[in-house]
Amino acid sequence: MNLTLRVWRQKGPEVRGKFVAYKVDEISPDMSFLEMLDVVNERLTSMGQDPIAFDHDCREGICGMCGVVIDGMPHGPRRATTTCQLHMRSFHDGDTITVEPWRASAFPVLRDLIVDRSAFDRIVAAGGYIATNVGNAPDANAIPIAKESADLAFDAATCIGCGACVAACPNASAMLFTAAKVSHLALLPQGQPEREDRARRMVARMDAEGFGGCSNHEECEAACPKGISVGHIARLNRDFLRASLTRGRREGNGGEGGSG
């Protein structure tokens, strides 16, 4: 296949970026998208030009490290597929393909196609866990969990934290990412004691990181390589609402009742 790539090139966070076009010939349809970029980089290096920087690691669609916007779609045209699992057979000979990084003010560009997603780590640090120290656990079968709940929790837990949901959202909202974590833990009995605090704290962190609000476009679900449902956002909203109503009581400020 012979292709034209239009790739976003940006030397650093403070430097202005621009699209640069590259003619790319002799690409095999069996290559993955990232293998195609490897080939481009080999050729650029041989010509003494800086290779294109892009994040990637496992190349099996599970680490969540890779991800670029391809022709306007996060992770490209194939549904439920990460960039590393997208193959060139999804394109046609002669195509012009536009490649750019995730665009969101909470994900500043570090170089070319690489962005800083550390905001996601900070959202998880704000309560995306069950507080249990090593050594406290009862026998694993002490609490049976209905298969239905376990499966639903698993569906939420499949989030790989790639950030495609943010890139797809017109508001650059991180609601699907946050909701997936909140929902995973809210669906399990172990997650109940901290349920409301978790929702409240994680949403507050999300807002503080500069992600936009959710206005139900549902682009996130369409872009999610793991097919995570926006139904989890509804669960987060319920938990968040309940947490707001009971907030004063839980924090104990102003004694009984508080502002709730």
Partner: protein, 637 residues
């Protein structure tokens, strides 16, 4: 080199308990005064950093990825073993211990493996408490499946992504400690040198992969949980960034390297599709529960698989190993695949593949049942190969997947450098010459949640450590080694890319030190690798500069280390004149092609000591003694 493993005395099943009592403790109020540096945030690193944070230590955690959650433990598909005996099928701690010792072909320490089997049950409890969504039965209890090398169902799993779910559990525990202020994270940082002061590991030198800044971090103990070194083969199931740099730098600073030639070639990976191939993708071993492996009986049979009648198919694992069948251990299954392909009966491009066929299982259980169990794996196969495995059999071929070798550690997980602890795949400890499926996750979490948090306290409580600061000459020297090396890599400006040299090294390693090895081949490898290393330092082309995000520079440093480690692997493989587990020397085999161990000469761990660039390394031995299991020829027939 002191290779006293420090195994506690007493009966096998009381050693760990006794040791825990005998180890010294650090007063709770004093723990925060100790700073521990944890390099790597996979299952072992994240769980250890989180547990030490919970205990109150002051931990700094480093990873080269943008988030700790991305470490390659995440890609483990199949499951995690534990001797819970929830299936009432005869499992026990002793059976898991026995299976692991036998699976490792009697080249692992009894005491370590028994401790691992004891701890396995607690790992499952803790992971469930953390919210890990393991597969469940309709009654709400945990489900299990079987894995290779075992005749009981002891593997816990979370569809085809057990690794991600366990890692997210450990990562969430880690982030809770970040929130609590006990752990400080340093993502996008790569360790490039170990700082050793007065014989003890006291710090690391890192490069900030975004700004290129080189800086030192000092502490009271250093822990490496940086994974295996299988990417020396270039094509492997590892993540592209997986590397040996941290353990290799530690080795060059004095840490003994145990059994470097023990690599695992996993039998069920998607075959290579062309020269552009950047990595290989595993298809979980769990597929062998329902898939049947076969090749045509006659050479050069090019008919489509569905056109070949049953009578003309050779289900070679079922034929050769009737009691374990398709669930033979990985080394055995890989070698058998190689044999039928060498015999000219391989399928697919180049004849380098065998069929993994679900036809019978689909007829027996229905397509939906197969989709429920393996749906995501089937989808992944289809995305990569463009073939539908519900209709045509999968094609698979062995690929490098794991390294049993690694830095030598004692019973406390401490290397030959006091203060340097090594966990998970980065150490050599528990799997002998072959790891059983679903045991890597078990070992990583055992080391991190349940072993290191105890043993590190013993080290800190029994060692007097002077305070060191950044101006110490050994710190400055380590920093300048890193700066000089970076400068050197950037100044060659030759004609070859890092990738092309890495690919060539991989081909050399696969040919001479891969699934089957022999003296002549290893000697050739030992001649060719130094020549390629020279070519690298004369002719590599790394563009850009050091003070920026420079992925070619990162890769160049890692490949430079692989070019040294590859040679040590060949040397170790040459010296070990026997076949055991994943190490198959063609000169040493039985009449029917099975591995032939030599217990008289090689019932030991080979531990290599680095002696500088210009001297050959020295091979030391830690003798292994078997008091609780008999050394027998491993049979899966």
């Amino acid at each position: 080199m002191n290779l006293n493993a420090g195994i506690p005395s007493g009966p096998l099943d009381k050693k760990w308990e006794k040791h825990r009592f005998e180890m010294k403790l650090v007063n709770p109020a004093n723990k925060r005064k100790f700073k521990i540096l944890m390099v790597g945030t996979g299952l072992a690193g994240a769980s250890a950093a989180a547990s030490m944070g919970e205990l109150g230590y002051n931990v700094s955690a480093f990873c080269f990825q943008d988030s700790p959650r991305r470490a390659h433990s995440i890609a483990a598909q199949g499951g995690i073993n534990a001797a819970k005996n929830y299936q009432n099928d005869g499992d026990s701690v002793h059976r898991l211990f026995y299976d692991t010792i036998k699976g490792g072909d009697f080249r692992a320490r009894e005491a370590n493996v028994h401790r691992l089997a004891e701890i396995s049950v607690k790992i499952i409890d803790h992971c469930v408490a953390l919210g890990v969504p393991f597969a469940r039965e309709y009654g709400g209890l945990l489900a299990n499946r079987s894995f290779g090398g075992a005749q009981v169902s002891r593997t816990f799993y979370a569809r085809g992504q057990t690794g991600q779910q366990l890692l997210l559990g450990a990562y969430s525990a880690l982030m809770r400690q970040v929130d609590a202020g006990t752990v400080t994270l340093h993502p996008r940082h790569e360790m490039l040198e170990l700082i050793v002061i007065e014989g003890r590991a006291r710090g690391i030198v890192t490069r900030d992969l975004v700004t290129g800044k080189i800086e030192s971090h000092l502490g009271d103990a250093v822990c490496l949980a940086t994974g295996g070194y299988g990417n020396v083969m270039f094509l492997a199931t590892y993540a592209k960034g997986s590397n040996a740099t941290a353990i290799w730098r530690a080795h060059k600073k004095g840490a003994g390297f145990g059994n470097p030639c023990f690599t695992q070639i996993h039998p069920t990976c998607i075959p290579v599709s062309g020269d552009h191939q950047s990595k290989l993708t595993l298809m979980s071993e769990s597929l062998r529960n329902d898939g049947r492996i076969w090749v045509p009986k006659t050479k050069g049979d090019t008919r489509a698989p569905n056109q070949i009648p049953d009578a003309e198919r050779d289900y070679y694992l079922e034929r050769k190993y009737p009691s374990f069948g398709n669930l033979a251990p990985r080394d055995v299954a890989s070698r058998a695949a190689k044999q039928v392909c060498d015999d000219g009966r391989g399928v697919g491009p180049g004849g380098l593949g065998v069929y993994l066929d679900f036809g019978d299982a689909i007829r027996r259980l229905g397509e939906d049942a197969i989709r429920e169990k393996y749906g995501n794996l089937f989808d992944m196969y289809e995305r990569i190969t463009d073939e539908n495995p519900y209709r045509v059999p999968m094609r698979i071929y062995p690929a490098t997947h794991y390294t049993m070798g690694g830095l030598w550690v004692d019973y406390n997980l401490m290397s030959t450098i006091p203060g340097l602890h090594v966990l998970g795949e980065a150490n050599f400890s528990d799997h002998g010459a072959n790891r059983l499926g679903a045991s890597a996750l078990m070992q990583g979490l055992a080391d991190g949640y349940f072993v290191l948090p105890y043993t590190i306290g013993n080290y800190l409580a029994s060692t007097k450590l002077e305070k060191v600061d950044g101006d110490h000459p050994d710190v400055r020297r380590a920093e300048s080694v890193v700066s000089e090396r970076t400068k050197r890599l950037l100044s060659v400006r030759g004609k070859r890319t890092v990738l092309s040299i890495h690919r060539e090294l991989g081909q050399l390693m696969w040919e001479h030190c891969g699934m089957a090895r022999n003296r002549a081949g290893l000697e050739q490898g030992l001649a060719k690798i130094p020549a390629l290393r020279q070519e690298f330092w004369k002719n590599v082309n790394v563009l850009g500069d050091g003070l920026e995000l420079n992925q070619a520079l990162e890769q160049a440093g890692r490949v430079a280390d692989f070019l040294e480690l590859g040679e040590l692997m060949c040397r170790d493989a040459l010296e070990r004149e026997e076949s055991c587990g994943g190490h198959f020397r063609e000169e040493y085999q039985t009449e029917d092609g099975e591995a032939l161990r030599n217990d008289e000469k090689f019932c030991h761990v080979a531990v290599w000591e680095h002696r500088g660039e210009d001297s050959a390394p020295i091979r030391h031995q830690e003798l292994l003694s078997f008091e609780n299991v008999h050394l027998t020829a491993r049979s899966y027939k």
